[in-house]
């Protein structure tokens, strides 16, 4: 389904550039061994910006929960209603949460706790964004 486009800034550009290369990377504080998403200027745990780097992750996750949108404020998405909005937790760190329309999964037939794999979809500007598909 069509998606609005993120507009990268200095902080987020590495992430979105990686998406355009079909890679999922996480901002990680190497001192704390802690991922954070969305990225921030400093590590939320130690407060430092000196040990932040981007690390590629597996692209595997699990469905944490979901809701089904019937009346979105976003005009671009209204034609696709109803659609799933699932919350995905990253395999490497389940505290990290992503959103997904779960392509291939009918609305309201979401298998909670099922495994998912990242894929990438093009948005209005051509920017790729991360999506997730249920895997058996």
């Amino acid at each position: 389904m069509p998606k609005p486009s993120p507009v990268p800034n200095e902080l987020s550009k590495p992430f979105w550039d990686a998406c355009n290369q079909r890679r999922l990377i996480m901002q990680t504080c190497t001192k704390c061994d802690r991922m954070q998403y969305p990225p921030e200027k400093t590590c939320d745990a130690c407060g430092s910006d000196e040990n932040l780097e981007w690390r590629e992750v597996s692209g595997r996750g699990r469905i944490h929960g979901y809701c089904v949108m019937y009346d979105s404020r976003l005009k671009l998405l209204q034609a696709e209603q109803p659609f799933n909005i699932a919350v995905i937790e990253l395999e490497e760190n389940p505290e990290i949460k992503f959103f997904s329309h779960l392509p291939g999964t009918p609305p309201d037939e979401v298998p909670i706790e099922a495994n998912v794999q990242v894929e990438f979809q093009e948005t209005a500007t051509g920017q790729l964004v991360h999506e997730w598909r249920v895997v058996s």
Partner: protein, 427 residues
């Protein structure tokens, strides 16, 4: 006086461990005012948010039995919650900008109500619950003696909050590509709640029906004035989904109106027209989430923190809290407050069982006696009005039969909210 800015962070009691509020019982609510209510603005200047604000403030003054010259402090929530009037053309002054049309600043009110003795102005952004804390603390700190707290909240012609942009910088870059907004956050959280506690959306019906019933007993409310029909369980259950498991009747109705509250020192309050309702505490929650959405665990942690701050700062215990009016603008988050505050002994996961009992204003557990924003329209101030009226004994048909010596109101979400505790006694 320079243009008003937002209150500094130091105003807000957002930490646990601060102890009893230093001004407990030294500030009092003495006046309430409510402008007419419309579903949407009819584009006439006499019904603008600015005009309605002046009406609301004058009502609050009349309620307190004082004059506009007694006001020496003004706090508003300058943004009006609805959409902007622009790009439509503005009007002649004082309606030559958004100020007075889609929101009302403190400066606009001072200027256009000719409040000549005002020496303190401030803004509490986003929610009147925020502005209430700012105004109350200002009186406590001696920055002003008598403060009016105002919010005007509008609904422009056309559909509310439609987003036509397809490009999102800032925080929206992480959410809007998937259509994740506040509605989905609340619906997702409620779905998680239902899974965790083995309950379901249908069990919300008694609460939502009761909110409308209570709202119909608020003569100033939107439904009492414009749609005086009860909501039935069947209607609730048959309503269309907005974001499943949230349906139409879980959402408060956007309306166009203004509300005002007067706060003063307890000494001055004794000479005013109404029985003073004392402020026992105000507190604030600004939760930080770990990742892109608020998990149920975070929601419950935030709610617990609010409860601890409410009780710590007021010196009350759950069994001493009589009137209970947390925000219900999405009904699906009300249970977090009820369970965290343990009002009438409700523990985690028990809210829906509690809703199935007698929660009417006539009964032993008069839950949300205001009817809330679900029962009156979206303003976020109905709980404050109800607490003050209940503690005065002026709640009319809604007056509870149980003790009404303390009360709690606040808004809006568990992650971002502000709260006030009221009492009939300053001690």
């Amino acid at each position: 006086m320079s243009p008003t800015s937002n209150a500094p962070a130091s105003v807000y009691r957002d930490k646990e461990g601060l102890g009893v509020w230093e001004h407990r019982g030294k500030v009092a609510a003495v006046g309430i005012g409510q402008a007419p209510i419309d579903r949407r603005w009819d584009e006439k200047l006499e019904t603008s948010l600015g005009a309605y604000s002046i009406i609301a403030v004058q009502q609050a003054l009349d309620d307190a039995g004082i004059s506009r010259d007694d006001i020496d402090g003004v706090v508003t929530t300058p943004d009006g919650m609805g959409d902007l009037w622009a790009p439509r053309p503005y009007f002649a002054p004082p309606y030559d900008s958004e100020d007075g049309l889609s929101g009302v600043t403190a400066d606009w009110l001072v200027r256009n109500m000719r409040l000549k003795n005002v020496k303190f102005t401030s803004h509490g952004p986003r929610c009147i619950a925020n502005a209430m804390c700012v105004g109350i603390q200002a009186v406590g700190d001696g920055q002003a003696n008598t403060v009016v707290v105002l919010r005007a909240t509008g609904n422009m012609p056309g559909r509310y909050h439609q987003t036509t942009s397809n490009f999102f910088p800032g925080p929206g870059q992480w959410t809007n590509p998937w259509g994740w907004q506040l509605i989905s956050q609340i619906a997702f959280g409620f779905a998680q709640y239902c899974r965790k506690y083995n309950t379901n959306h249908d069990r919300m019906a008694p609460f939502v029906v009761n909110q409308r019933r209570n709202g119909l007993m608020v003569p100033e409310g939107y439904y009492a004035q414009h749609r005086p029909e009860v909501l039935t369980v069947e209607e609730y259950l048959a309503a269309r989904w907005i974001c499943k498991p949230m349906n139409l009747f879980d959402c408060d109705l956007p309306i166009h109106t203004a509300g005002a509250f007067l706060m003063t020192t307890s000494e001055r309050a004794r000479d005013m027209k109404q029985k003073p309702v004392y402020i026992l505490n105000h507190c604030t929650q600004r939760g930080k989430i770990r990742s892109s959405c608020e998990t149920l665990e975070e929601t419950e942690e935030f709610a617990d923190s609010i409860a601890r701050k409410v009780y710590e700062g007021s010196g009350l215990t759950p069994s001493e809290l009589d009137i209970f009016n947390p925000y219900d603008g999405f009904t699906l988050f009300f249970q977090y407050y009820l369970e965290a505050m343990q009002w009438h002994g409700v523990k985690r996961g028990e809210a829906h069982d509690f809703y199935a009992g007698d929660i009417s204003v006539e009964g032993p557990h008069p839950l949300s006696s205001s009817g809330g924003n679900n029962g009156n329209g979206r303003t976020r101030w109905w709980g404050y009005r109800d607490c003050i009226q209940q503690l005065r004994g002026q709640a009319g048909k809604r007056q509870v039969n149980v003790k009404a010596e303390t009360g709690l109101a606040g808004a809006f979400t568990t992650g971002h909210s502000d709260w006030v505790v009221f009492g009939t006694s300053p001690d």
